[in-house]
Amino acid sequence: MILNKGKIWHIQNDNTAYSDEELITMIKSGKLKADTRITNRDLKKWIRIKDSIYQFYLPKL
C-alpha cells in the first residue's frame, strides 16, 4: 500500500506541513497528544486527534 506522500497535514501552532506517514508516526510515538488539533484542506476545520479515526494510533496506556 502506498501512502500519500504529500505534505497535507497541519498541526495547530506548528508551521510545518506533514505527510500522512509522518503524522501517524508522531501520533504513535506520543509526540502528538490526544488533544492536539490537526487539519488538512479537505477537512476545512481543526479536529482533535482523539475525535478522529487516527485516535487508533494513540499509544495505549
Binding site: I24, N40, L43, S52, I53
Partner: protein, 588 residues
C-alpha cells in the same frame, strides 16, 4: 472505540457491495480491506477520500470518529459493476486489470476450458507414470509438519515458515514455490513445484545427495532418513540406515513412499506394500488397499486409507477402543494420542490425552494437522493452532513473520581468574546480547553484549557446585536460543607456604581496558553494560532529568564517576561512585 469499522460495514451493506468490490475500488487486497472492517487497522486519508467519493459523502464523515454516516436511499438493486470506473484511484492499474477481467469473464472462462480439454487429451495420449502431478500442486496435508521440537508449514504464497528449536539450523528456511515440507528430528526437507528437493539442518553430504535427485514427485522423512520417489517410479533414499530404513534405495515400479521414525514403506505399482526398517518389531503392515498417509511417534503408528478410515499400531500399550473415524483426510500421532482430521475441518482425538481432546473441540476449518511427541498443531490456512506442550515455542509461527531461533552458545566455560569467576563462550551470529544466570546466593543474572562475563568470586562458597546458564538473545527475525548450561564447583585456593628459597616473586598487574561511549546509550543498555562490568547497585545513583526524550526510550544525558572511552582497571572501576542522568519518557 473505532467507529470507522462499523461505518464501513454499514455503508457496504446498505449498497449491497461485496468486500472484494470495495477492495477493488481502493486498489487493495480483500484481506487488507477485511482488516479495516474488523477494526484491526484504519484507512489512511487518501483511501478515506476515495471511499468518500465512492459513497458520495464528505470525507469528514469517515474521518470523524463518530458512528453516524449518511446513507442514500436506493430504489433499485445493482451489481458490483455499477459505476466502479468512476471511483477508481488514478494509480490503481491492478484494479483496472481486474475490472477488464471481470467484464470479459465469459471469454476467459471459455478459453480456459478449451485449454483444459486440449491438455487432457494430450495427457491421455502420453504414457505416463502414476504420480506425475504431485510435484505441480500442493495438497493441504503436505503443508504442515512437526518434529518433537519444531513446526514448519507452507503459507498461502508457497513460502515455508517455521518455529521452535533451531539448534541445527533446521528452521533457516528461505524457500518459495514449495509444494511439500517435512521434518526429520533435526532437519527440514522441502519439495518445489519443479520436482527438486532442498533441505535445512541436514548434514552436508546428504543435503548434496537429495539436491541431485530430479523429477521428484513425493518424499517422506523419518527421524534421520529421507525417502523420495521420482516421476518414473524409482525410489531414492539417503540418511540414517541403521535399521535398514533405506533398503529400498534404487527400487523401481513404485507409486508411493512413506516414512516412519525409523522405517520406510513403499507401495508398488501392483498395489503390494513393503516395509523396511523398524516398525515396533513387525516385518509387515498387513493388508491395505490403498495407504494415503502415515504418521508415527515413539509408541504409535497411524495409517490413513483412501476410504477415509484410520488404523493404528501401538508398541506395548493396549487401548480399549479402536479409533472410530470416518471421512478422514489427515492423521497425526503423539506418544499418547492419535489425531484425525475430517473433511469438514474438525479434529478428532483418540486414546487418553484428555487435555488435547478438550482443546481441539474449538478448532474449525483446519486443513492439516501434525504432531510432536507431546503436542498437536493444526493449520487453518491462516494461523497455526497448537495444544499440548509448547516447550520450544513451536506454536508461535505466524503469517506475519518468520523467526529463526538462534543456535545455543558453544564452548561455555568458567574459570577462576584472580578475584573473579570468568564465564566465557563462543559468540553466536545475530545475537544482540547474552543472558548469563548462575544459581548463586539469591540468584545472579547479567545481560552482556560481549562473550565474557566476570563475577565477583566472593559470591561463591567453597566446595559448592553451581549451574551456569547462558542464552543468546535475538531480536527482530531472530528468536532467543535454547539455554546452554554447565556445572561449576568452586574451590578456594590455599595460599602457598612462604618459601625460604631465593626464587623471585611475581607481581600481578591488572590490565586496564577502555570503556564504551556512555552518553547517548539507552538507559536500559547503559545499565546492562554496567552490570556486565560487575558494577554493583550500591555504586550507582540514577536521576531522571526534566528533559523530554524524543523517542520512546530513556537516553543517558550525563555520567559522573566514569567517562566515555576512559581507560580503567577493573579494580578502579569497582571503587567508583557513578551518577547518571537520563531524559524523561512522555506518558511513562
Amino acid at each position: 472505540m473505532n467507529y470507522l469499522a462499523g461505518k464501513l460495514l454499514k455503508l457496504r451493506k446498505h449498497y449491497n457491495y461485496s468486500q472484494r468490490f470495495v477492495a477493488d475500488v481502493l486498489g487493495i487486497d480483500v484481506l487488507e480491506y477485511m482488516g479495516f472492517e474488523n477494526g484491526r487497522d484504519v484507512l489512511h486519508f487518501a483511501q478515506l477520500k476515495t471511499l468518500a467519493r465512492f459513497y458520495h459523502i464528505p470525507v469528514s464523515e469517515l474521518f470523524y470518529n463518530r458512528p453516524d454516516v449518511t446513507l442514500y436511499d436506493i430504489s433499485n438493486t445493482h451489481t458490483d459493476e455499477l459505476n466502479i470506473e468512476y471511483f477508481l484511484p488514478k494509480d490503481s492499474k491492478w484494479a483496472k486489470i481486474k475490472l477488464f477481467f471481470k467484464q470479459h469473464l465469459y471469454w476467459f472462462v471459455g478459453a480456459f476450458g478449451v485449454l483444459i480439454i486440449l491438455f487432457f487429451v494430450l495427457w491421455l495420449a502420453l504414457d505416463k507414470p502414476d504420480k506425475i502431478f504431485l510435484a505441480l500442486e500442493t495438497q493441504d496435508r503436505n503443508r504442515l509438519d512437526a518434529s518433537d521440537t519444531s513446526v514448519v508449514y507452507i503459507d498461502n504464497n508457497g513460502v515455508v515458515k517455521g518455529s521452535g528449536d533451531n539448534t541445527n539450523g533446521q528452521l533457516n528456511l528461505d524457500y518459495d514455490d514449495i509444494v511439500k515440507v517435512e521434518e526429520g528430528s533435526t532437519f527440514t526437507v522441502v519439495l518445489n513445484s519443479s520436482g527438486q528437493l532442498d533441505s535445512s539442518g541436514l548434514m552436508d553430504r546428504h543435503a548434496e545427495i537429495i539436491r541431485k535427485w530430479n523429477n521428484i514427485v513425493d518424499f517422506a522423512c523419518g527421524d534421520g532418513h529421507i525417502i523420495a520417489l521420482d516421476a518414473s517410479g524409482k525410489v531414492y533414499c539417503t540418511g540414517d540406515n541403521m535399521y535398514g530404513q533405506c533398503d529400498f534405495n534404487g527400487f523401481e515400479g513404485v507409486k508411493d513412499v512413506f516414512a516412519t521414525d525409523r522405517g520406510s514403506v513403499i507401495v508398488e505399482n501392483d498395489g503390494s506394500i513393503a516395509v523396511s526398517g523398524e516398525f515396533f518389531g513387525r516385518s509387515s503392515l498387513g493388508n491395505y488397499e490403498n495407504i494415503q498417509d502415515l504418521d508415527s511417534s515413539d509408541t504409535l503408528l497411524t495409517i490413513l486409507q483412501s476410504d477415509g478410515s484410520v488404523d493404528y499400531y501401538s508398541s506395548g500399550r493396549n487401548y480399549n477402543d479402536v479409533p472410530f473415524f470416518n471421512d478422514i483426510v489427515d492423521v497425526a500421532c503423539g506418544n499418547d494420542f492419535i489425531a484425525a482430521l475430517d473433511s469438514g475441518g474438525k479434529v478428532h482425538i483418540d486414546i487418553d490425552n484428555y487435555l488435547i481432546q478438550e482443546e481441539v473441540q474449538s478448532w474449525e476449518n483446519v486443513i492439516a494437522i501434525a504432531a510432536g511427541k507431546d503436542y498437536l498443531v493444526g493449520y487453518d490456512g491462516q494461523e497455526i493452532l497448537g495444544v499440548g506442550k509448547n516447550t520450544y515455542k513451536q506454536f508461535e509461527v505466524s503469517e506475519a513473520s518468520t523467526q529463526y531461533r538462534l543456535p545455543a552458545v558453544r564452548n561455555l566455560k568458567a574459570v577462576v581468574d584472580g578475584e573473579f569467576l570468568t564465564v566465557q563462550f563462543d559468540s553466536v551470529a545475530n545475537a544482540r546480547a547474552y543472558l548469563i544466570e548462575i544459581d548463586v546466593g539469591t540468584g545472579f543474572s547479567a545481560y552482556v553484549e560481549d562473550t565474557i562475563c566476570m563475577v565477583d568470586i566472593t559470591r561463591f562458597e567453597d566446595g559448592r557446585t553451581y549451574t551456569i546458564t547462558v542464552t543468546a538473545l535475538g531480536e527482530g527475525e531472530y528468536a532467543d536460543s535454547a539455554s546452554e548450561s554447565i556445572e561449576f564447583t568452586y574451590h578456594t585456593k590455599t595460599e602457598p607456604e612462604p618459601s625460604e628459597s631465593s626464587e623471585p616473586t611475581v607481581d600481578i598487574v591488572e590490565i586496564p581496558f577502555a570503556l564504551d561511549q556512555l552518553v547517548g546509550k539507552t538507559k536500559t543498555n547503559f545499565e546492562i553494560y554496567l552490570q556486565g562490568l560487575g558494577i554493583g547497585q550500591d555504586q550507582l545513583t540514577a536521576i531522571e532529568s526534566e528533559n523530554i526524550c524524543e523517542g520512546e526510550e530513556a537516553i543517558i544525558e550525563s555520567v559522573t564517576g566514569i567517562s566515555d572511552y576512559e581507560t580503567v582497571t577493573r579494580k578502579e572501576l569497582l571503587e567508583r561512585k557513578i551518577t547518571y542522568t537520563y531524559c524523561k519518557v512522555e506518558n511513562s
